[in-house]
Amino acid sequence: MRILVCVKYVPDIHSPRSFADERVVRNPDDGGMNELDDHAVEAAVRLVEELGGEVVALTVGSEDASVALRRALQLGASRAIRVTDGAIANSDVFGTARVLGAAVRRVGAEEPLDLVLTGMASLDALTSMLPSALAGELGWPQLTLASSLAVADGRARVERHLADARETVEAPLPAVVSVTDEANSPRYPNFKAIVAAREVEIEAWSLADLGVDPNDVGDLGARARVLSAAPRPPRDDRRVVSDTGDGGVQLAAFLAEKGFA
């Protein structure tokens, strides 16, 4: 099994985020790998432990994004690639998929890949569009939101729980698979793994290395752009009641006042 895992560097979701000049401002000191990507790396490492092979971690971003790759290496990836290029800034999901797709093709040209794994969403944007955009870009089948993943006889099989249905979906390899946080419990890296992760040299690729036209990505290629961004107005008129025996009555009165009862 040769598996590539796409990981993303995101700000700590507990830390403040904001916009300046219609761009997202993040504090680079408190970020890390998107927590949901832990499950994708874990799923990849388990398959390789079972079937043999290699796990390659891939990210797109600035040098800060190396933090995410180190985390993937600690969790069991053996190779790490970062695509960094000034022209990538402000890519929409289709631009990001273009860059990732080109990197996947290049890794696959060295030796064919069996799977590309991703998390179910990034905890900063939460759109869950990237796996589908990447599958579309590669022309590969997609098996998304997997709560379990098995590979046998050149096929991947996943179970997924949607709001209204439970599904079992299969596809031939190579395929793009996104896994949910139900898929596994990621391991805690031990000291040896942490030291070993430091030893791996992160490969840095540019758009030119991948043959991607800068006009297709970043600001220039974005099909949608942010015009303005503003903090949501604070909730005004907040009321706090300490229950001294009539909290329920006050709650009912509030619901009635707001027209809900």
Binding site: T127, A224, A229, P231, R235, G247, L251, F254, A261
Partner: protein, 312 residues
């Protein structure tokens, strides 16, 4: 003409699709995009009530209801449309991402509003777990916008549409995914994502959802739960509200015995009015509550339920 991808299942047309039709009608003549077996006469009549001029039916087989095939079917049905709307659910996001990926459309999801300004599509959406409001413009000639449920109130059109059925041949599929099994989860009552009112319980319920369910029934709402509660097996996973469960944006969210962990808040912070009941005065959920009761839900809820019954 504006296309609207209609979500439908054993329970009929999804309520959020009616909201999307209401939005679409304000922008132009509406075309319903319907994947699967033809709508029933009742379903067609409902679409007509919401002003639909045309219903394009692409008869995808149940086994071909995978994102890539749905994306191709939407391309076949909506090839001439500049704007396609839908509901921001996982399934529709995936199908329309495939459509946009192939067609070069620009796409915005989780929108609360959409307008056409100087011939281009502009959207409004909440980001960063509803702490920011962002306005975006789609510059590509074709646009896809998916709307969050409860962004607006669905209303029938002043004048019904014709809802003329137009058959669209299912595209030849080069789709490699096989849907080996699909079991519909019988949802009792209103689907969580679409509910106008959600009453949710967390660790503070200690596993007893009776009062939460009773209040939900009384208010005509759906029951939600935290990750803790579903992990404990107190209630089914389909009730989970949070960043990895269902994101909800109801008009009213009542959090019972929920401390408000960041993953939970991310799934409900965009709600209209937020009410919270918890014993811990420092619970983070109170930071975002419009009405907070610091108290024991096993005392507060029965009293509130009795008071609400007295009113009605």
């Amino acid at each position: 003409m504006i296309g609207v991808v209609i979500e439908h299942g054993p329970a009929g047309v999804g309520g959020s699709s009616l909201e999307a039709l209401t939005v679409a009608r304000g922008l132009g003549d509406t075309v319903a995009l319907w994947l699967g077996p033809s709508p029933s006469e009742d379903e067609r009549a409902l679409l007509a009530d919401y002003g639909v001029a045309e219903v394009r039916v692409c008869p995808l087989e149940a086994r071909a209801r995978v994102a890539s095939a749905e994306g191709a079917a939407i391309a076949a049905a909506a090839g001439d449309l500049d704007l396609v709307l839908g509901v921001s659910t996982f399934a529709t996001k995936e199908a329309l991402t495939r459509f946009a990926s192939a067609s070069g459309a620009g796409m915005v999801v989780d929108a609360s509003g959409v307008e056409i300004v100087d011939g281009r599509v502009e959207t409004t959406q909440s980001v960063f777990t509803a702490t920011y409001v962002v306005r975006s413009r789609i510059d590509a000639p074709r646009a896809v916008v998916l709307l969050r449920p409860n962004s607006i109130v669905a209303e029938p059109a002043p004048k019904p549409g014709e809802a003329t059925i137009v058959d669209v041949p299912a595209p030849e599929l080069a789709t490699a995914e096989t849907l080996a099994d699909r079991t519909f989860v019988a949802s009792e009552g209103i689907p969580l994502a679409e509910a106008r009112i959600v009453v949710a319980g967390g660790r503070g319920t200690g596993g007893d959802f009776a009062l939460v369910s009773e209040l939900a029934d009384l208010l005509g709402g759906a029951v939600g739960a935290t990750r803790d509660a579903t992990d404990e097996g107190w209630i089914g996973h389909e009730h989970m509200v949070g960043q990895t469960g269902t994101t909800v944006t109801p008009s009213l969210y009542v959090a019972c015995g929920i401390s408000g962990a960041v993953h939970h808040r991310g799934g409900m912070q965009g709600s209209g009015t937020i009410v919270a009941i918890d014993t811990d005065a420092d619970a983070p959920i109170f930071e975002i509550a419009d009405f907070a009761v610091v108290g024991d839900l096993f005392e507060v809820l029965p009293q509130a339920i009795a008071a609400l019954r007295d009113r009605s």
